[in-house]
Structures are given as C-alpha cells and as structure tokens.
Symmetry: D2
Subunit: 109 residues, 4 copies
C-alpha cells in the first residue's frame, strides 16, 4: 500500500470522526468479520468465485488492518519483517521445500 | 507495505515451493484463521492485551493478504482505492460525521 | 444436546466463577475464535483431516453456543425452530432442490 | 437441541438435496461465516445489540454445527462430554476459581 492510499484511509476516518469507534478490540472484530465475508466468496466452491466480490472483501480486510496499524501507531513493514524473521527461522527453506506433509507439520500447530 | 517487504514475502513462498498450497480458497481460510488469532488477543478484555502478540497476529493477516494479492495478480492500491471510491459515495462525510447512531446505521447492513 | 450435558456445562462455569467473563460480546468472540480453530483442521486440504481434532474443536464451538444461550436466557429449540421457519419460507423445497446454482442464488446474499 | 429439531434440520437438507454441498470443509467454512455474522451484532458496542438478530445468527451457527455432526456421524453429547473431560482436567475448579488472571493464563494458549 503506498503512502497516498494510506493517507486516503486516514482522511476517510478523520472526516467522519470515526476514530472514536476504532478501539483496537473493535478493529480486531472488524478484521475477522470482513475476513469471513471474503471466505464467503468460497463457501460452496473452491474454484468458482466472483472476482469482483473477492477484490472488495479483500480490500475491506486490508483497510481495517491499516486502521489498526494507525490506532496502535505501528508500521506495516516493521511488524511484517519482524514476523518474517520468525517465519524464516521456523521454516528453513531446505527442510520445508515442496512437501505438503512438511508444510502441514510446520504450519499446523 | 513497501516493495522490498513484498518481495521478501514472495521469495519466502517460492523458496519453499508453497505456492501449490496457496489456492485463493485456502488463502481466504488462512486470512480468517489468522484474523481470529488476532481477535483472541482481545477475547476476554477489550483494553488489556499483549501488544507483541497483536503485532505478530496482525502481521500474519497482512502476509496472507499479500499472498492472495499475488495469487490473483491484484494490486493492493488499485483494489483499495476502488473500494474507497465506493465507501466515500456510500458514507458522505457531512452525514456520517461523529454520530455513533449514523455510523451504526451506515456500517451495519 | 441433552439436559445432563447442558447441566455439566453450566456447573463447569459456576464452579470456576467464570460467568463474570461471559458477556454476550465475549462469547460471540469466543464462538468465532473456536470456529476458526475448527476451520484450521481444513486449512490446506478439504479431504484430509484429523477427525479427533475436528471433534474437539466442534465441541468447543457448541459449548460456547450453550454458554451464550445460558447468558441470554435463550432456548436452543425455540431459536432454531424460529430460524427454520424463516429458512423454509425463504428456500421452498421444490425450487431449491438439488441445484447448485439455485443453492448459490438462495444462500449467497 | 431435542430430537424433533434435529430431524427438522435433517429433513430440510434432504428435501432440498443439499447434502451434496455439505462437505465437512464447506460446513467448517459455513460455521465460521455465521459465527462472524453473530460477532457483527457486537462490532461497535459490547452492550447494545439487537437481541432478535443475535438469536437468528446464533441459530444459524447451531444449525451448521448440527449439519456437521450429521455429516460426520457424530453425537453431540458424546463429543461435548469428551471435551468437558479434558476441560475439567485442565482447569481444576479450586485453582481456576474467580480469577481473571488465572482464567487468562488457563484459557489463553
């Protein structure tokens, strides 16, 4: 997401004075609610879906993620790179490569 | 998210040959699963939460969102700006401003 | 769920004095969190899953549903039969029968 | 849920020939989708909610849970009592009693 898009999201919230509803907890609820709407695109079929609908729901998830970053004063690149450090240490490429079984063992807790 | 972070996420998937598991449907499931783990940080309290844990779970949601963008060949800024066009038309600032009741009426379907 | 099982769930909460944490909102969060753990059993495969794990996660969802019924003083059969009245009116058997397209059109909003 | 309600749910599915869409995986998706709609009743407020809407969404979650029990040939009381055996062993009443901190430590993984 580029800076212009981020500013547009912030301005949207500010102009409506909606920051008051954006507690971290409410935003966490909102992210899961939108994520479930995204999943609904695939509820009865894994392969046939309405791409336009998928785009809209995915965008909703990402907008609420940005709202949460803003609420908590977090930087997307910083928290993602920290998590990727963990992921790379946890799933070494040579061991994890191409194996569904290993993928499963690694990714399922 | 900057280009370097995006490339790191892509390389992580490629090096492990995990693209084969990243159907749009599986990624939609993954996004909601991680979103629920984020919500778990707020399960019993809206105000007391482990910020480090929140950062990690929010990062997980965002990484899977990027995986889905990549899978479907989508651009984050494009889909978010299209959705913001819709949002701005749907919730005019002057009407929506600062009112919880209006916020509710607007945002709840 | 029979009465004995319902009583066991109630006693479990009472003996731990946990009713204080069971606001309707916290229980709604808990239901979606457990539902996502159930979905995790199917995250990377629709057909290969650990049945024992599925049983445990489905049980968790149902226990929290019972907790919510208790919290709000609701009766499972009453609310389900009311909803089934709506469903039967909304999806007449003769029209909905056996058609995936119709199923889709009916069930997707 | 009494036997009559269970039979009504089964008959509803049979008469529409919808069992073909009820894979365990699709039902897991459906449960989380409905659970998120239940959560949506509490998206912006923990205390003000539309009880009628809550009833309908909770009923939807429970109907899909019954669909999954039926699909996998499971008995609600059996899987719930097995899980309650685990819960009682894991959270001894005398230790867990009334403490939010303990509740947290116990319930959060």
């Amino acid at each position: 997401m580029n800076q212009q898009t981020i500013e547009r999201i912030r301005k949207f919230t500010e102009e409506r004075d909606w920051d008051q509803f954006h507690s971290a907890s409410n935003l966490a609820k909102s992210i899961v609610i939108e994520a479930a709407e995204l999943l609904e695109c695939f509820q009865w079929s894994d392969t046939e879906y309405d791409l336009q609908h998928v785009k809209e729901e995915l965008a909703d998830v990402m907008v609420y993620c940005q709202n949460m970053l803003d609420k908590l004063g977090l930087d997307a690149d910083e928290i993602i790179n920290s998590k990727m450090d963990q992921n790379e240490a946890k799933y070494p490429a040579e061991q994890a490569k191409g194996s569904s079984a290993k993928y499963d063992a690694y990714l399922k807790k």
